[in-house]
């Protein structure tokens, strides 16, 4: 029942005690604040950095060079763009040195809209991040996955981009993190920093247990045969909610929570699409050169003769920003009603005559390209 922010906090606690995590740092990450979303409260190795994104990424790379295990936070992904060349370097250090140097580091940054963040607290980053080879990219949609993905990220020998859905940071998980007290209020009392003077506060950590969500492994959030819905991060709960509603109309969906965007779990996508032959990808990034387009391209190539209807991407509008007025944000980013409508459409569209009559191309054809 932890919130997503608490899931992150518990993972950092577990990692500094058990996984050799040496540094958690960024703007306002250390005491007294413990992060603008409270995700780093009570962490012993958390410290405040200068307001300097390039310094934060460079520092993380240097720590990794020297044998440390850092988690660096960029306070909002909207402010990560001036570090792109450093992210490229982090991604190519192992390749460019022919395997002689690697940089095991995690960059954690909140993404997406949903908090009235206006133009510069609402950016998505996965489409650009996935264009920087050498990084693994994960994004949880609930507290348990937030915990398990962060443990895997910290344990990984390569750089991992950990995208936090900021609108879900206070959303409670339906399930418990292993070792988490069953009473959410007890957890709040034990690990939430008090208001006011925190100088003498120390958290009373529960005895959380290891739970590694493997990087590259998707989760089937709902199971059905009418269509496949692929999503992640903040949009995932909207897809699940829509699937539950549409079940009353007799439609059942495979709702796949990718959890890892790179390397993406292609076997899970293939299994589902071979069954449903209908595909909808949902995210909130702007639609042009969108990460979802990559999924559509790969899956269309592989399932061209199998698909019964044209695959579809439901994404954010291709406009320069997200306005602070609610009417503007709702018009820019897919909302619950948009998701429901798109899912109903993909499930009910008339199927193409002859779909599936030709055999699939062998997988080796695609892997060799």
């Amino acid at each position: 029942m932890a919130t997503l922010a608490q899931g992150i906090r518990l993972a950092l606690h577990y990692a500094e005690e058990n996984l050799g995590l040496t540094d958690v740092f960024g703007e306002d990450v250390g005491p007294p604040l413990g992060g603008v979303f409270t995700a780093t409260q009570g962490i012993k190795c958390a410290w405040n950095s200068p307001l300097d994104e390039r310094g934060i990424i460079g520092m993380a790379m240097g720590i990794a060079f020297a044998g440390g295990r850092p988690v660096a936070e960029i306070q909002f992904a909207d402010y990560i763009f001036n570090t792109i060349d450093l992210l490229k370097l982090a991604g190519n250090m192992r390749w460019s040195s022919h395997g002689r140097w690697g940089v095991p580091l995690t960059v954690m940054t909140p993404v997406g809209s949903g908090i009235h963040g206006s133009i510069y607290h609402s950016h998505s980053f996965e489409s650009i991040a996935s264009h920087i080879p050498g990084w693994k990219i994960v994004s949880p949609s609930n507290a348990v996955d937030a915990y398990g993905l962060l443990l895997s990220a910290i344990n990984d020998p390569d750089p991992v981009m950990y995208l936090e859905p900021k609108a879900l940071m206070r959303a409670r998980s339906e399930e418990l993190i292993p070792g988490e007290p069953a009473d959410a209020r007890e957890l709040d009392r034990r690990i939430n920093a008090p208001l006011g003077d925190r100088s003498r506060w120390v958290p009373d950590w529960p005895d959380v247990q290891p739970h590694f969500v493997p990087i590259g492994e998707a989760r089937l959030a709902r199971e059905g045969h009418h269509a496949t819905v692929v999503s992640y991060s903040r949009m995932l709960p909207l897809c699940v909610q829509a699937a539950d509603q549409l079940a009353h109309e007799g439609f059942e969906f495979d709702v796949i929570d990718l959890r890892t965007l790179y390397p993406v779990d292609m076997p899970a996508l293939r299994r589902s699409l071979a069954k449903t032959r209908r595909l909808l990808v949902v995210n909130e990034d702007t639609e042009v050169t969108n990460y979802g387009e990559h999924l559509l391209r790969r899956l269309t190539e592989e399932f061209f003769y199998e698909l019964e209807v044209a695959p579809r991407l439901l994404a954010g509008k291709d406009v320069p920003g997200i306005g602070i007025a609610w009417s503007l944000e709702a018009a820019s980013v897919p909302q619950a009603g948009d998701v429901l409508e798109a899912m109903r459409d993909i499930a009910t569209a008339p199927g193409r005559v002859g779909a599936g009559e030709w055999p699939l191309l062998p997988q080796s054809f695609f892997r060799s390209r």
Partner: protein, 326 residues
């Protein structure tokens, strides 16, 4: 130890390593001109500063030793530390045998974990953001290991040097960093006087409370002493120091500008005059050093010519620690 206290053998070794670096660079330039290598860039003209630097590095692996964040003119530093000209020329030839990048990077882009030389990058000045990270670990680790970063005067216009100055001088969190700018007065074709308000970039460190100085990088003795003083301070005080070395750029920016010899002071003949006048070497002995290294480089070049290019399938290796499979 001050330069004057060095043994005659050490002073002759400095000369030997300067010639080693120069002949290696000139062989690499030859490879560019003959079509046996692609882009050339390097540090001929920086030997009088770079070799004393390489010799005073606390060489080894891990935070007890010095970390080096070099830029693409760091060849003479690495040569002084022990890089084999054969390996340098393998990278120039983009061969599969290139031990630093497997034929992926430009020449002079070393990556040597055994000596804490982190990968040299073609991006300008980014190394000044990474050096604070290795120094941060060393500050926490203790001991006398330091982190050393080098870059040019033109690149210092990037904000990353400000990152380095700011992070390394935070009160109570000072970092053991030797911040070096080798000043050759040029950024490709643009003279420094067009783009910088001050000739001595080390003075930028003063408002941060960082000790700093400037040295004639064509003078071996002055460079040795400036480096010795700076390193002793950083190792003991665990605080940063900024040092500017005024150097020559003897073959222009790179092969992109022709890699032709230009008329600037050459530190090697200047040092030879000193050694000869002090009776430490004769002209014939100096010439013999050149002949020995030229012969070595010629033989190394023959070796490189015989070695294979990387296998095309190699592009898929070392993307991640484990084999890629998506």
């Amino acid at each position: 130890m001050r330069y004057e206290a060095l043994t005659p053998e050490r002073k002759r070794q400095i000369h030997d390593l300067m010639v080693k670096a120069r002949t290696t660079e000139e062989t690499a330039i030859l490879m560019n001109k003959s079509g046996e290598g692609f882009f050339w860039i390097g540090g001929p003209g920086e030997e009088a500063f770079a070799v004393p630097l390489g010799l005073q590095v606390k060489k080894g692996q891990g935070p007890d030793h010095d970390y080096l964040h070099l830029h693409y003119r760091g060849g003479p530093i690495a040569m002084a530390m022990g890089v084999d000209p054969l390996d340098h020329l393998r990278q120039m030839g983009a061969k599969a045998t290139d031990p630093f990048s497997g034929g992926r990077q430009f020449v002079e882009h070393y990556a040597i974990p055994e000596w804490n030389i982190v990968p040299v990058t073609p991006t300008i000045e980014t190394q000044y953001t990474m050096v604070i990270g290795t120094a941060h670990v060393q500050r926490r680790h203790g001991g006398d290991g330091i982190s050393i970063v080098t870059g040019g005067d033109a690149g210092a216009a990037e904000g990353d040097i400000h990152v380095c100055l700011n992070w390394s001088s935070r009160p109570g969190q000072e970092l053991p960093v030797l911040i070096i700018v080798t000043h050759n007065r040029w950024g490709i074709s643009t003279p420094c006087t067009q783009v910088q308000s001050t000739r001595n970039l080390n003075e930028w460190a003063t408002p941060f409370g960082i000790r700093n100085s400037v040295v004639d990088g064509n003078d071996v003795a002055a460079s040795w002493d400036a480096l010795a003083d700076a390193m002793a301070y950083i190792r003991a005080e665990r605080k940063p120091y900024m040092l500017q070395a005024d150097v020559s750029r003897l073959y222009g920016h790179s092969s992109a500008s022709g890699a032709n010899r230009v008329d600037e002071p050459d530190c090697i003949p200047l040092y030879e005059e000193r050694l000869i006048s002090e009776g430490l070497m004769t002209r014939a002995e100096c010439d013999a050093v050149w002949e020995r290294w030229r012969a070595y480089c010629k033989e190394a070049l023959e070796q490189v010519r015989s070695e294979p290019a990387p296998d095309p399938a190699d592009i898929w290796t070392h993307i991640f620690a484990e084999p890629a499979g998506v």
